[in-house]
């Protein structure tokens, strides 16, 4: 039994010293074993210590942190006490890392081939010719096209998915016994992510390598791991076989987490978990999950539970009251069906909108025009009804954020009209909009860290639109700010705080309050939940829905996450390369028949359920620009019917339920193929 264990973590504590001199723990007394050939998923939200744990398994502790106690044993020697000379022989050869963001983790001035060769030089005895062959082999193994040319490229010349594959190849170069993966698919598009995961699964089977897969994404974890470790504020709270953890989690945190993740199969908003994960060093005795828990009692408040191993379930759990959950059935999700009163009145109409990023030639600059035969975004026609939520979905480069920018007046359109309230033309140039035009459309950005001024208090942030659009002052201004804060479930005492004193979810609430302060008719939501932790996401989505029902606001919701879109939107528009593929009520878009691109997107979604595997329909090629003519999706379509797809722009076809699909294949035929 002992020989089976490849890495043994024993009572590991890692922390840092605060400015006051207190010792603050990032990891608290972690013990676990990684066995030969198994894939362990470590899941947790940002700040749970999961990456620190993975790095410690390589004997690496980040600048500023230090080991307080415990060991990470590899082949019965403690990596954390090892000399760097000896570590160099283990890192890359016995244990290899696949980083989160390969774009940042590849050295910019060195060619791909060199970076892989470096690993080979260090960790194999091959001579130069053999190494060259091996590089090609490795690049082939991670399914990169034409390895010889890729090896001569610099990292920035590859796409995100390709960079991630190079990182995998680099890690495999030393034929390691243990692979550590730190959020390896997080920055990637849905389809690329599914492909990379499939590749990793293949490699795990093919080489028998043990893997530790660190992620915040239960969907990705579900696809790869045999065993799952759930971490919460530096502690392991649940550890057990993957299927049990995902189907019948017996820790309240995991239980709540699974309930709060939107699923493709369910329309409507999932229940949210209150609060957010405590900051390191703020917990005063008791269970760290106490204040967010539905099962907590006085015992939880005063005593911190131990990690308890349950033999018959083969699971370890850190909870006093887990028994209440043991007998519960599979996690059943209850959702709040959204009920929007969308009126027949159009509030915003985009007709024939085209947007170009092409650099203007001198002549065009002089005549103040944009000439581009093949613009980034083309022929966008959408009517948006008052009070509805319409979602724009697509991968990066699909033009969804570009369209949002033009609606907001931040990016000039090439052609087309943007009409408000059926009559009023809105210029796509901010300077030509009057203050009222600006007020009616507000934006909420993806990352509240960047969209909130770090030198303004919450009061100042929310006061700005109130002063600007309504000229409020003094008591009235203050009363309005408090009102808005209450609407986004934040107390009055938040007024004097700075953004850095707020958690991610709280910051996004402030951004929501700022948007609503202008009493807008339309709010543009640009990936508003992507930067948030899963447990906070549902709460923000529920808040957005509540506010919308109260104020009758119209949302234009941009997201790459199809499950989130499914949860919140009435209607969905699918974009590829800046062209519309499919527009329809979300119930119908998520059902077949679909546009072949929608089919690809839906197939690639990762659900936190080991029984639902992604379906990979098309290759994850990255196209630099839209095709000159024909269907925008021709380059990746698996259902291509011939020359017509390359030459003619496909017609819009309507399904019985009012779903519009732009494809050359007749609807009936498409339906047959997809069932």
């Amino acid at each position: 039994m002992m020989t089976d264990i490849i890495q043994k973590v024993k009572n590991l504590s890692i922390g840092f010293r605060s400015k006051k001199g207190d010792e603050i723990l990032i990891l608290k007394n972690i013990s676990t074993n990684i066995k030969k050939g198994e894939t362990v998923g470590i899941v947790g939200e940002s700040g749970s210590g999961k990456s620190t744990l993975a790095l410690a398994m390589m004997g690496y502790v980040k600048h500023g942190l230090y080991t307080i106690g415990g060991e990470c044993q590899f082949n019965s020697s403690n990596l954390l006490k090892m000399k760097s000379k000896d570590l160099e022989k283990i890192r890359g050869r016995k244990i290899a890392m696949i980083p989160q963001n390969a774009g940042q983790a590849l050295t910019p001035n060195l060619k791909i081939g060199y970076q892989i060769d470096e690993a080979l030089q260090l960790h194999s005895d091959l001579d130069e010719i053999e190494r060259e062959k091996k590089i090609s082999e490795l690049l082939n193994k991670v399914r990169l096209p034409s390895p010889e040319t890729i090896a001569l490229r610099y990292p920035h010349e590859l796409s995100g998915g390709q960079q991630q594959r190079v990182a995998v190849a680099m890690a495999l170069a030393g034929t390691p016994d243990l692979l550590l993966l730190d959020e390896p698919t997080t920055g990637l598009d849905v389809t690329t992510q599914a492909h990379v995961l499939e590749l990793l699964n293949f490699i795990a089977k093919d080489t028998g390598t043990s893997m530790v897969y660190v992620s915040h994404d239960l969907g990705a974890i579900a696809q790869v791991s045999d065993r799952i470790i759930v971490m919460y504020s530096g502690e392991i709270v649940l550890e057990g076989p993957s299927r049990d953890i995902l189907k019948k989690p017996i820790h309240p945190y995991t239980h709540g987490l699974l309930k709060s993740i939107p699923k493709l199969s369910l329309a409507g908003l999932p229940e949210s978990m209150p609060g957010s994960q405590p900051q390191p060093g703020t917990i005063q005795g008791g269970c760290s999950f106490f204040d967010r828990c539905n099962f907590s009692d006085d015992n939880c408040k005063n005593n911190s539970p131990k990690l308890e191993f349950l033999k018959d379930l083969n699971t370890s759990v850190r909870c006093f009251n887990y028994e209440q959950l043991v007998n519960e059935n599979e996690v059943s999700q209850t959702v709040n069906k959204i009920k929007n009163k969308s009126l027949d009145k159009e509030i915003l109409n985009l007709s024939e909108v085209s947007i170009s990023y092409a650099k203007q030639k001198l002549l065009d600059q002089i005549f103040n025009r944009i000439s581009d035969e093949n613009p980034t975004v083309k022929d966008i026609n959408i009517d948006i009804k008052k009070g509805e939520t319409i979602a724009l979905v697509g991968e990066s480069g699909s033009g969804k954020s570009t369209i949002l920018k033009s609606i907001a007046g931040l990016l000039r359109t090439k052609d087309g009209l943007i009409k408000f309230d059926e009559s009023r033309n809105l210029s796509s140039d901010l300077k030509e909009r009057d203050p009222n035009d600006l007020r009616i459309i507000q934006l909420i950005f993806q990352n509240p860290d960047e969209s909130l001024n770090p030198n303004h208090t919450v009061e100042e942030i929310i006061a700005q639109p109130l002063k600007l659009y309504f000229g409020l002052k003094g008591e009235k201004l203050k009363k309005n700010i408090i009102d808005l804060l209450q609407k986004v479930r934040l107390g009055e005492f938040y007024m004097s705080r700075y953004p850095r004193q707020l958690s991610g979810g709280e910051k996004q609430r402030v951004a929501v309050a700022r948007a609503f302060a202008a009493k807008p008719d339309i709010i543009l939501c640009d990936e508003v939940t992507s930067a948030l932790d899963v447990s906070v996401q549902a709460a923000v989505l529920n808040l957005l829905q509540q506010l919308k029902e109260d104020f009758g606001t119209t949302y234009i919701f941009v997201s790459h996450d199809l499950a989130v879109v499914r949860a919140i939107s009435d209607r969905v528009a699918v974009l590829y390369q800046g062209r519309l593929c499919e527009v329809g009520p979300s119930n119908d878009v998520y059902k077949f028949p679909s546009h072949p691109y929608t089919e690809v997107l839906l197939g690639a979604v990762l659900e936190p359920d080991p029984d639902i595997k992604p379906k990979l329909v098309a290759e994850d090629i990255v196209e630099e620009r839209p095709p000159e003519k024909g269907c925008s999706f021709q380059g990746r379509c698996s259902r291509i019917v011939g020359d017509i797809c390359k030459k003619e722009i496909p017609p819009w076809q309507l399904t019985d339920s009012g779903n519009a699909i732009r494809c050359h294949i007749p609807i009936k035929e498409l339906q047959k193929q997809q069932f």
């Binding site: 790095l55 390589m58 690496y60 600048h63 760097s84 570590l87 160099e88 022989k89 283990i90 890192r91 890359g92 050869r93 290899a96 890392m97 980083p99 963001n101 940042q104 983790a105 590849l106 050295t107 910019p108 001035n109 060195l110 470096e118 690993a119 260090l122 960790h123 610099y154 920035h156 010349e157 990182a167 680099m170 030393g174 650099k359």
Partner: protein, 318 residues
């Protein structure tokens, strides 16, 4: 790439053209002119007219600008007023002297700056860093006229090792000049080295904290190999522009130091010709100094472009 180089060179010429106009107009609007200065109290009547005719000041300003500019392009800046000799003969030895001073400072200062910067970054917050950083910050903050004066006081006056001021003819040979330039070089190199070492330090620290360096460590790359392959090439790229600016600053004449040491370089010539109201020389100097700045910055940009694969492909793609 070629297009970009041509564009940058053209831009450089436009800059020089603007500088030439500004200097010309500047000297033009100042009260008094070469003849009134030269003739002093006799500057009236027949004699003044004759002087105007002799120096060609009786034609309209724009005509004078054109003929001056055409001659300047060919290297002929006209006559110096104070010495009554061709300006290019005045400039020649001065440029040589400044070049000697600057290159000595560059060859000593830049390697030291790089080494100190790298050491402080790699031993960040440890003893070598604390010690060197204290010294560099100190050297950076003392104005050069103070450090120069102190150097003269200690080395030349108390210890009597080296001459305190440079008393040589403008056109001495290099070997004779050598012992004279040691103190000025040290004075200049101190400030320059300190500045650059700080810059290199922060640049190396930034790269050391990057994800790709962490990745290299986790890949098992030995420490020094990592430093030379993964860290330095990326950390020193931004330093090129700083080095270029420093070189331009040096060649442009380190005015204060040259004056303190009585060094016959371009910097002192600037001061001299301004106080002598030798306007043709001032004009010539302005143009020459501007060309030095423009061409060195151009070189630095092209060098960065060539060394940074990222910029190179971006340009080609466009």
């Amino acid at each position: 790439m070629l297009f970009l180089i041509i564009k940058r060179i053209l831009l450089g010429f436009i800059t020089l053209f603007i500088v030439s106009i500004i200097t010309f107009v500047g000297t033009e609007v100042l009260p008094g002119d070469a003849c009134t200065t030269y003739l002093e109290r006799q500057a009236f009547g027949e004699q003044l007219e004759a002087c105007y005719r002799r120096l060609g000041l009786n034609v309209p300003a724009y005509e004078r600008y054109v003929s001056w500019a055409l001659n300047a392009i060919q290297g002929d800046f006209g006559y110096s007023l104070s010495g009554e000799m061709p300006i290019k003969d005045v400039l020649g030895p001065r440029i040589k002297n400044s070049l000697v001073l600057a290159s000595a400072a560059i060859f000593i200062g830049i390697p030291i700056a790089l080494i100190l910067g790298i050491i402080t970054a790699l031993w960040r917050d440890k003893l070598p860093d604390v010690a060197i950083s204290t010294v560099t910050i100190f050297a950076m903050t003392i104005p050069e006229f103070i450090s120069a004066t102190l150097l003269i006081l200690i080395i030349a006056i108390w210890l009597e090792w080296l001459p305190g001021i440079v008393i040589v003819p403008t056109d001495v040979s290099f070997l004779e000049l050598l012992p004279n330039i040691i103190l000025p070089v040290v004075a200049i190199a101190m400030i320059m080295t300190a500045h650059m070492a700080r810059m290199v330090r922060s640049s190396v620290i930034q790269v050391m904290a990057s994800e790709y360096v962490q990745m290299a460590i986790l890949k098992g790359v030995p420490y020094w190999k990592m430093v030379f392959k993964h860290v330095l090439p990326n950390a020193l790229l931004p330093a090129i522009n700083v080095v270029a600016l420093t070189i331009a600053w040096l060649l442009g004449g380190v005015v204060v130091t040259e004056v303190v040491f009585n060094y016959p370089g371009l910097g002192r010539l600037v001061i001299e010709s301004i106080s002598n109201r030798d306007l043709p020389t001032v004009q010539a100097l302005a143009i020459i100094l501007a060309s030095i700045y423009v061409s060195i910055n151009l070189l630095a940009d092209l060098l960065t472009l060539m060394l940074n694969p990222r910029l190179k492909t971006l340009q080609i793609r466009k």
